[in-house]
């Protein structure tokens, strides 16, 4: 397949995946919706990287640079997510009785 036809096919594939993602968003997937949408996005992203940006044919240092960027993206998001989701409130928050006359501001 000539490089030009290859790129057109990849382009069409991307469009198909986009519509699939669009349709999937109407389904009531609840918590899976984000994982489905993001995994389709990752597939599309790798298609663009491999076929359009020809990352395979680039120099080793080029790949190293992109890999460093992606690695830091993942670690930063992971550490921020674990921080925000694992914070625990004060001990009485679990008890039923709320503070009797606490200076409850607009929380």
């Amino acid at each position: 397949m000539s490089p030009i036809r290859l790129r057109i096919v990849v382009g069409l594939l991307l469009a198909v995946l986009a519509t699939a993602s669009f349709v999937a968003s109407f389904g009531h997937l609840g918590s899976f919706a984000l994982t489905v949408a993001l995994s389709i996005a990752t597939i599309k992203a790798s298609l663009v990287l491999v076929f359009f940006m020809e990352v395979g044919k680039q120099s080793a240092s080029f790949k190293l640079a992109l890999a460093a960027g992606v690695l830091l993206l993942v670690t930063m998001l992971a550490l921020v997510a674990t921080d925000v989701s694992l914070r625990r409130g004060p001990s009485w928050a679990n008890e039923t009785t709320s503070p009797r006359r606490a200076d409850d501001s607009s929380l």
Partner: protein, 325 residues
């Protein structure tokens, strides 16, 4: 545990430990500081010996042998030092969790940090400003939040600190404190009077605590006014001791002649005070920013009366030379 001898603690400038947690933190502190001093001394000593031993004598430098460290020795020293540091981390983690997270069911005191003051509310509803009174020997949990920006509740003698974040409750656990008076500082920069946001933890032994508890309960109507002022945020702008804050101080206000910004001068009587509470911008005092929110409909008649009683009770206190410029 290495108990930091008093002389060393004094030499390092550490305040007296007032709680058992502070003592254990200090022993870890002693271990880390000794490692630091020993490590630095070793580096300096070895360097000094090498410089003396291998000083260049002739003008032109002689060729030196090519020595390359063996990988094994590099890994050995590196992992030994790493093991020591991870040891510090492990002990540090255990102590950190005991400071940060109290066992549930302990006595609770609520702390609200506001721009440039601390306000404590006890479990039985009483609240006090800038002074936290606690019974010696009983652990308590501080449940803290901030009304405006990030402050940080810091008691050096307890070796505890926690940023108070607006919109969130954060906690600190203080186990059995020894009697005494310990300063509270705000450790997170929070504006012009960050360095004046001082407080005091007064740890009373059994007898004094009982006296304080009994005496504090049946104050007059003015104390009720002070409570209302504290809970509605008046005190963050109006000081009670004459300090010039964002708003005029209540000390010596009642019955005095108040210059307004439009040139008029009024007597600060009940009519002026109640009108200013409801519509603060009507007669603004000269030299103060127009930032007071209206309290229209937020104060019941009884609360407004209590506020007026508070201001009347401060009639004869002369405004002291406040330190805030």
């Amino acid at each position: 545990m290495i108990v930091l001898p008093d002389l060393a603690r004094h030499a390092l400038g550490l305040p007296v430990e007032a709680t058992p947690t502070a003592a254990s933190v200090d022993s870890l502190h002693a271990a880390v500081i000794t490692t630091t001093l020993v490590g630095t001394a070793c580096v300096a000593a070895v360097t000094f010996v090498f410089v003396l031993r291998y000083r260049r004598t002739r003008e032109a430098p002689a060729a030196t042998p090519r020595i390359v460290a063996s990988g094994f020795r590099e890994w050995l020293t590196a992992s030994a030092v790493l093991a020591l540091f991870v040891g510090f981390w492990a002990v540090g983690y255990v102590q950190y969790t005991s400071i940060e997270r109290p066992p549930s069911g302990t006595l609770v005191v609520y702390v609200t940090a506001k721009q440039w003051m601390w306000q404590f509310t006890y479990a039985d509803g009483r609240s006090s400003e800038d002074v936290l009174v606690v019974r010696a020997g009983t652990p308590f949990e501080l449940v803290m939040t901030s009304r405006d920006v990030i402050h940080s509740f810091f008691v050096p003698s307890f070796r505890i600190k926690q940023d108070t974040i607006p919109g969130r409750w954060v906690t600190l656990y203080v186990d059995a404190a020894a009697p005494g008076s310990y300063p509270i500082y705000c450790a997170e920069f929070c504006g012009v009077a960050h360095s004046h946001m001082l407080g005091e933890v007064r740890v009373l032994d059994e007898a004094d605590y009982a006296v304080w508890e009994r005496e504090a309960t049946h104050d007059g109507y003015a104390a009720r006014g002070r409570e209302v002022a504290a809970s509605h945020g008046c005190l963050s702008c109006h000081a009670l001791d004459g300090q010039k804050r964002a708003g005029p101080s209540f000390a010596g206000l009642y019955g005095s002649r108040v210059p307004l910004d439009d040139g008029r001068v009024v007597i600060a009587d009940e009519a002026y005070l109640t009108h200013s509470i409801v519509d603060p911008l009507a007669d603004r005092v000269a030299g103060y920013p127009a930032m007071m929110p209206s309290y229209h409909g937020q104060l019941s008649a009884e609360e407004t009366g209590a506020l007026l009683e508070l201001i009347r009770s401060l009639r004869d206190t002369l405004p002291t030379q406040g330190r805030v410029p």
